[in-house]
């Protein structure tokens, strides 16, 4: 018996296997049944829903495409526009996040940064003062220029002599990642006011900008590990051959990190695809995304489950496909992130 265990320490005995299968199947049922119910409700006529539950298509009720026709043909543009918005916002924001995140992560894994805390605090104080100046009615071009000028002056003169604590790579990375802790609701009202001032409310641009900021910490968190596992020798030999930093990054590092980049991209994409809170604050009609459209169903027409099921299916179809493809990457990425903290 010992021998059998040693070759495969986690193989359960017959009784344990049966119990395991029972529990696993029970949870699989819990997971799949709501999805099944969603799928069959999308093919039901109102009468099949309202007259109490029916469970099996063709036996209990005759499936019908009426809900699909209504959503995709009758309401064509009202469905298509949010769908397109979601796709465009999701892809654009994820791409931008990936670019910014990959650059920052690569920088943090290959350069040594030592920034004076005093510089950071001076910069922040200057920015706050500038914001106040703008709020008091100064033209913003003047205020920003003045603020930057003051910062440059302070940095060139007074700050040079201060030998305060410095922030290193780990501090910067921690600072970026810790932004995940921030509840979005704590920053959304100022962002709302900002976009209102810029006349960007209810535009895809606003959503893209907001999503980049929201997902950047996650991108850094997931990518950090991929860049650290790329052997540095390749980069060194390229540098000896005369390649500059950007060529090394573009020709050597990014191709090597491609699996990680793809996985991170898809993960961020799913987050942007599903995002609800920021979209609720920042968009209403023109830039409406799918989660908003689905959420709005109830308010406008009462619970018409058949239409709602079609919409939800349209919305979750792509991400379910992604989940099946991504399963391995997600597990690995999240584990490495979690080990590092």
């Amino acid at each position: 018996m010992t021998l059998r265990w040693r070759t495969s320490p986690t193989r359960p005995g017959p009784l344990a296997a049966v119990v395991s299968y029972l529990i696993l199947s029970a949870w699989a049922f819990v997971v799949l049944f709501p999805l099944y119910w969603l799928a069959i409700t999308a093919f039901k006529l109102p009468i099949h829903v309202n007259e109490g539950p029916t469970y099996v298509p063709f036996l209990d009720f005759q499936p019908s495409l009426h809900a699909w026709r209504y959503i995709l043909v009758d309401l064509r543009n009202d469905t298509l526009r949010p769908y397109l918005n979601t796709v465009v916002v999701g892809v654009t924001s994820s791409l931008l996040t990936l670019i910014l995140g990959a650059a920052a992560t690569y920088g943090l894994s290959r350069f040594t940064y030592r920034i004076r805390l005093a510089s950071v605090l001076t910069f922040l104080a200057g920015a706050v003062l500038t914001a106040f100046a703008i709020a008091r009615g100064l033209p913003w071009q003047l205020a920003v220029a003045g603020g930057l000028g003051a910062f440059a002056l302070a940095r060139a003169t007074a700050l040079r002599r201060i030998r305060g604590p410095r922030l290193g790579n780990a501090d910067i990375a921690f600072w970026m990642i810790s932004q995940r802790m921030l509840p979005p609701v704590a920053i959304v009202i100022p962002i709302y006011i900002l976009f209102q001032r810029l006349a960007l409310l209810d535009s895809r641009t606003a959503l893209v900008i907001a999503y980049v900021a929201a997902n950047l910490p996650i991108a850094v968190w997931l990518l950090r590990d991929y860049f650290q596992t790329i052997p540095i020798e390749l980069e060194e030999s390229a540098a000896i051959d005369g390649a500059n930093r950007y060529q090394i990054l573009w020709r050597i590092v990014l191709p090597l990190a491609l699996p990680g980049l793809v996985a991170t991209f898809l993960f961020i994409f799913v987050l942007a695809w599903n995002e609800y809170l920021l979209a609720l604050f920042l968009s209403s009609a023109k830039a409406q995304t799918m989660p908003l459209l689905v959420a709005a169903q109830n308010a406008t027409r009462g619970p018409q489950w058949w239409y709602m099921s079609v919409l939800i299916l349209l919305m979750i179809g792509p991400v379910i496909a992604l989940a099946i493809v991504l399963e391995r990457y997600i597990a690995r990425g999240l584990l490495l992130g979690a080990v590092r903290g």
């Binding site: 995140g101 921030l182 509840p183 939800i312």
Partner: protein
């Protein structure tokens, strides 16, 4: 490899003070060399600036908002500074019942429950304090956590007692602590089972991952369909139990439990997938040695497997704790925060206030949430997370 400066002799960037400018003829090579030298800053600055511009400054502005009152004036609006009035309103004023809840009368059982829970909490804290070196900073930290914990416990017990009504703060705590504990336990059970050599486990892995990827809004509506006692799939069971057309939506606890079930369904996968990956990457030797020594299955799990995955487990709990505090989609869509405010989370509370143009109080709620999240996060890292990660 971290912190090394490998390639070439690139100077430390980020702090690159402009060198005295010599007059040099502009050329492509010089530009490339200059750009190369600035690579460090070029790579990191965009991300830093985005986070500064869209997280840090909004955060500071939110602080100001929470200290002011929104006033529409002709042609726009302005913010009138009012000091701590908005927070006062939340804690003592007109929003108190919404935010903190209504205190009920603690009967004898209430006091017993409170004393019991407080005793356990204080005992655990004292044990954790004794376990380490007795530095003043640790003492102060533990005392702070004890005070905050007792206060929170008192609030929870009083508002849940007869005649009381929990406010959004307490409801959020219920979602976070009960929800995360449940998700962790279910996720751990599934991960342990799935880590065994069972044919077909890849199927389970993919299926179990699915809910995590689905839009919370969609999940919420799906659960509304499922829990409908008249038209949902479980209507016959509800009928048989005599609950036909009894709407759980009108019962505070029914609604809260529905929200928590939806959340459990959605977020167990996260726990599951990470714990499973941790289980699969643990080293097999200790387990094999324990089997040779005749340890039971339970002993192996408790003494070998669990300590090995403890750092990862602690981290996923931390991540979920932080994320769970932001819960919004599920209660907003599933119950709309109702009945009354029974299922309203803090984020939803802030949203409702924002919608009624009370920006100041909304920001104050958001800041309270931020404060609570930060406090819980730091306390968790100091008291639990460090220990598991250094032991593991």
């Amino acid at each position: 490899m971290r912190g090394t400066r490998p390639v070439g002799t690139t100077p430390a960037a980020g702090d690159a003070v402009a060198r005295p400018a010599r007059r040099i003829p502009l050329s492509r090579e010089r530009f490339v060399a200059w750009a190369d030298a600035q690579a460090g800053a070029v790579l990191v600055l965009p991300a830093v600036l985005v986070i500064l511009a869209l997280s840090i400054f909004p955060l500071l502005f939110s602080l100001y908002l929470s200290l002011s009152r929104f006033q529409p004036v002709s042609g726009g609006f302005r913010f009138h500074f009012v000091g701590l009035l908005n927070y006062r309103k939340l804690l003592l004023g007109s929003e108190q019942e919404h935010f903190l809840g209504r205190l009920g009368d603690l009967g004898v059982t209430g006091w017993v429950v409170f004393a019991l829970l407080a005793g356990v909490a204080l005992f655990l804290l004292a044990r954790s304090l004794v376990a380490g070196p007795l530095a003043p900073s640790r003492l102060v930290g533990h005392l702070l956590v004890a005070a905050a914990g007792l206060l929170a416990l008192w609030l929870v017990v009083r508002t849940l007692a007869a005649g009381g009504r929990p406010g959004t703060l307490v409801v959020t705590w219920i979602y976070v602590f009960a929800g995360v504990a449940l998700q962790f336990l279910v996720g751990l059970l599934l991960a342990v089972l799935c880590a065994q050599q069972l044919p077909g486990r890849r199927f389970f892995r993919v299926v179990f991952l699915l809910p995590m990827m689905i839009t919370p809004v969609g999940v919420a509506y799906t659960f509304r369909m499922l829990t409908d006692t008249g038209k949902g799939p479980f209507a016959p069971i509800a009928n048989w139990l005599g609950y036909a057309n009894v709407s759980w939506v009108n019962d505070p606890w029914g609604a809260r439990i529905a929200v928590m079930i939806g959340d459990l369904w959605q977020w167990t996968p996260f726990m599951f997938i990470v714990l499973l990956a941790a289980l699969e990457s643990q080293s097999p030797e200790p387990v094999e040695a324990a089997i040779v020594d005749g340890a039971s299955r339970w002993q192996i799990f408790w003494h070998i497997t669990l300590p090995q995955i403890a750092p990862v487990a602690s981290t996923v709990i931390l991540i979920r704790l932080i994320e769970a505090f932001k819960i919004f989609d599920m209660p907003n869509v599933l119950t709309g925060g109702g009945p009354g405010t029974a299922t309203e989370s803090l984020t939803l509370h802030a949203y409702v206030l924002w919608r009624s143009l009370d920006y100041g109080t909304s920001a104050a709620v958001a800041y309270s949430l931020l404060f609570v999240v930060t406090f819980v996060g730091i306390a968790y890292v100091r008291l639990l997370h460090r220990r598991t990660t250094t032991l593991g």
